[in-house]
């Protein structure tokens, strides 16, 4: 049975109190490598949010009406990852054909997203927590926005840091981690508002 939490609370909690990056460490690879420029970070954040909502909307019915009734739990990882890969591929082709502007902006990020842990992570959380369709949708949307928020914050900070003098060795990923740590500490402040596990 779906847990008895208002979808709206799940939505807000997934942005702030259980942020994908700052709390669950999901999607770190692209978060670190694509966060040196604010504009690119925005593009990636948008693409992740879009793919998250789409794949969750497709994977939820597949899980509920195909995997559960036919007891295919051992195949669920393969099914989920295939659905994600296929969705990203179709989305990319569709964008290329119908919205070339958007494709020029988001296209390069789409292949990256297939292996972004945040996408598979959200779907696995949805399965483990037994969300209903509406809950799952708002959860994925909130998680995407939370991810977007975090990468934008980091990119904004890194743009400023690029011009400062730093001790040797700290430049690059090391500093990004420490900045993220400070951000995560700030986000702990939200944890009193709502909690979803």
């Amino acid at each position: 049975m779906a847990p008895n939490i208002s979808p709206l609370i799940i939505f807000i909690a997934s942005i702030f109190t259980s942020n994908m990056i700052l709390n669950n460490f999901l999607g770190m690879c692209s978060y670190l490598s694509v966060s040196t420029e604010y504009k690119t970070a925005t593009g990636l954040g948008m693409a992740v949010t879009l793919v998250l909502v789409l794949t969750t909307a497709i994977n939820w019915p597949i899980y509920t009406y195909l995997i559960v009734p036919s007891n295919l739990f051992y195949l669920q990882y393969i099914i989920f990852i295939m659905v994600i890969a296929a969705t990203v591929q179709i989305l990319e082709m569709g964008m290329d054909r119908y919205t070339p502007d958007l494709h020029a902006k988001l296209g390069i990020f789409l292949p990256l997203i297939t292996v972004n842990c945040a996408i598979l992570g959200v779907i696995l959380f949805m399965v483990i927590r037994n969300y209903s369709f509406v809950q799952a949708l708002l959860f994925s949307f909130g998680s995407g926005l939370g991810w977007w928020l975090a990468i934008n914050m980091l990119a904004a900070i890194r743009e400023k840091l690029a011009t400062t003098k730093l001790p040797p060795g700290v430049k690059g990923p090391a500093l990004a981690f420490i900045v993220t740590g400070i951000m995560a500490m700030a986000f702990i402040g939200f944890s009193g508002i709502f909690t979803i596990q």
Binding site: F25, C29, Y74, L124, P168, A174
Partner: protein, 205 residues
């Protein structure tokens, strides 16, 4: 391409080119499971197992996979081994399986595995590829153990669940929360790259 000696491969994957610290791969899971040492050990060995076997399989098939669909094949092979690990954990260590939660399934998207498949298994025979993958996984395990040792000792005052808090210091709650993981791995990368930079500067003289 001349095959690398197993010993040299071990050293390269564990220390000089450690996947986590030097290539910044596999970060997601290395941070999430490091609040206790037991979880880190299980997770690390799981990754080493999957990386080794998927490198072996992919290297054995490297001449028959069409270039265009190789990502797809790699993902499928990796997913198959991850399912194996997941079922094994559920059957023999249900507690740990519950604690690791979605992170076992997330081994599929661990970039280290894909990275080794692309960078090494693609162009090397199966047996060396298997060792390469396995050692890369062990290097990852080592980093996980170091981070979790720091977090568990300071956060719970225990090592593998045994109490080591003899002097009775106040445990740091921050250590079991997410920010500590970011700080520790950030400092480790800082330390390693500062040392590498110094070494390079000395050799240049």
């Amino acid at each position: 391409m001349a095959a690398e000696k197993i010993g040299a491969n071990f050293k390269r994957n564990m220390f000089t080119e450690n996947q986590v610290l030097r290539a910044i791969l596999g970060i997601c899971s290395s941070l999430a499971v490091t609040n206790t040492m037991k979880n880190s050990l299980v997770m690390g060995l799981g990754v080493a197992f999957v990386t080794g076997l998927s490198s072996l399989t992919l290297s054995a098939m490297r001449n028959v996979i069409p270039h265009r669909v190789r990502m797809l094949v790699q993902t499928l092979v990796i997913a198959a081994y991850v399912i194996f690990v997941d079922l094994l954990l559920q059957a023999y260590m249900p507690d740990i399986s519950k604690q690791l939660g979605p992170y076992v399934g997330l081994i599929i998207t661990n970039c280290i595995i894909m990275g080794r498949a692309e960078a090494y298994a693609q162009s090397n025979p199966p047996i060396p590829a298997m060792w390469d993958g396995f050692f890369a996984g062990l290097g990852y395990t080592m980093i996980l153990m170091i981070i979790s040792l720091i977090r568990e000792v300071l956060g719970f005052g225990t090592v593998f669940g045994f109490n080591v808090n003899f002097v009775g210091f106040e445990t740091w709650t921050i250590m079991i929360m997410p920010p500590a993981a970011f700080f520790i791995i950030g400092s480790m990368i800082w330390f390693i790259s500062a040392r590498a930079a110094k070494k390079a500067a000395r050799q240049a003289k």
